[in-house]
Amino acid sequence: MTTLDQKPARGEGRKDPWSQLLLKVGKNQDRQAYHALFEHFGPQIKYYAMANGLASHAEELVQEVFVSIWRRSCLYDWRKAAASTWIFTIARNQRIDMLRKMKRTSAEMPVETEDLWQIPGENDDEPVTSLHRLMSERRVRESLSQLPEEQITVIAKVYMESKSHQMVADELNIPLGTVKSRVRLALNKLKVILQDQNV
């Protein structure tokens, strides 16, 4: 992982190490960088698959996600999303795609998964806006650590286990309204904290 020790070039200071690695994959098909990404994100994606009830296909999903990362890396734009956010959206889309394909043939799918769920920075004509996007992940990470556990639990079930609010309510044995208000509080707080920081 020597790649991580290299000093960032001028103007690259805002890129996190994962985004720098992903750019190397995109620009030079750098396999060492690709391997470092695999070591870091592979186990996360495997857990994501298992939590989503894809236990017997978990490794298959990890493979699909990484093949997709390799192919699309040329489209990755660090100004539009941090690497981990970009990789999360690819994992999400591959999960949806896998479930769709288990249920029906491709002839039955006039709409492709990516017509519905977008990868940040792709199909996106708008000029590069913002540090806002780039910084959002860092801010989310900081804000999240300030949320009460009960709010994080609900959000984790929505994101990691694809549960509807009703399913979360049933599982935790609390009213639907409570689930929704916990989510709203958490999302408001994430936003409020952002505003307080004047971003």
């Binding site: 495997k46 490794e59 006039p110 709409v111 769920w117 806002h132 990691m160 509807s164």
Partner: protein, 214 residues
């Protein structure tokens, strides 16, 4: 400029990948035109990334990276396909319905209203997906809604007691919304609506009860 947006909970369900296909399409069409909501979804996608990072991690097989490499080496280079797909992009709506919404096989329903059921484009989904067209200047009869009805304006604009809904505006209506929309502006107003699974009674009393739950 859109004024009516999806609520944050729906955007979170979209970001988490938990919406049905027709609901995701409504959100996607709105996002394509609304920088405000796109930036909310960016933050939510980052939330997903951080949640994934904070979960326990599970070791992968030791030979997996090698099999990924051999797959990459054996498959044709897809890079160009991705680059060209980005430059020649076709909106999901156009893919689904063709170029001219007005040329679709509309069915005149009553007065100024025409409809087209496109549920069969979403096989395996429980919702009913309908396009509705209100002729320019036309009025729809007063009505309420069964269950939740998610609507996005694809063309023109309509107005009701809650305000004016322009192209790409997003609105969710339910049983409590008794409204009487009017198409405003000089274009026909076309909307895409997703109706949550209607209540269906089966058995002996079906015919007897159905009129009362409409």
């Amino acid at each position: 400029m859109t004024r009516h947006h999806p609520d944050t909970l729906s955007l979170m369900d979209y970001s988490a990948g938990n919406l049905s296909e027709p609901h995701a399409l409504c959100i996607r069409l709105h996002l394509d035109q609304c920088p405000h909501c796109r930036s909310r979804v960016d933050t939510l996608d980052s939330l997903g990334a951080v949640m994934m990072e904070n979960q326990p991690q599970v070791g992968v097989s030791s030979d997996m990276f090698d099999s990924i490499l051999s797959r990459i080496d054996s498959e044709p280079d897809m890079t160009e396909k991705y680059i060209s797909s980005r430059t020649k992009r076709v909106s999901p709506l156009q893919k689904l319905l063709g170029e001219d919404l007005n040329a679709l096989p509309w069915k005149r329903q009553l007065g100024d209203v025409s409809v087209l059921d496109i549920s069969e484009k979403f096989p395996g989904q429980r919702e009913q997906v309908v396009l509705q067209k209100l002729a320019a200047g036309g009025k729809a009869p007063a009505h309420t809604h069964r269950g939740d009805e998610t609507t996005i304006v694809l063309q023109g604009a309509f107005a009701d007691h809650k305000g004016v809904f322009n192209q790409w505006d997003f609105v969710v209506l339910n049983e409590e919304d008794d409204h009487k929309p009017v198409a405003v502006g000089c274009e026909d107003c076309i909307t895409l609506s997703v109706l949550s699974a209607p209540v269906k009674l089966t058995g002996t009393f079906t015919r007897l009860l159905n009129p009362f739950i409409r």
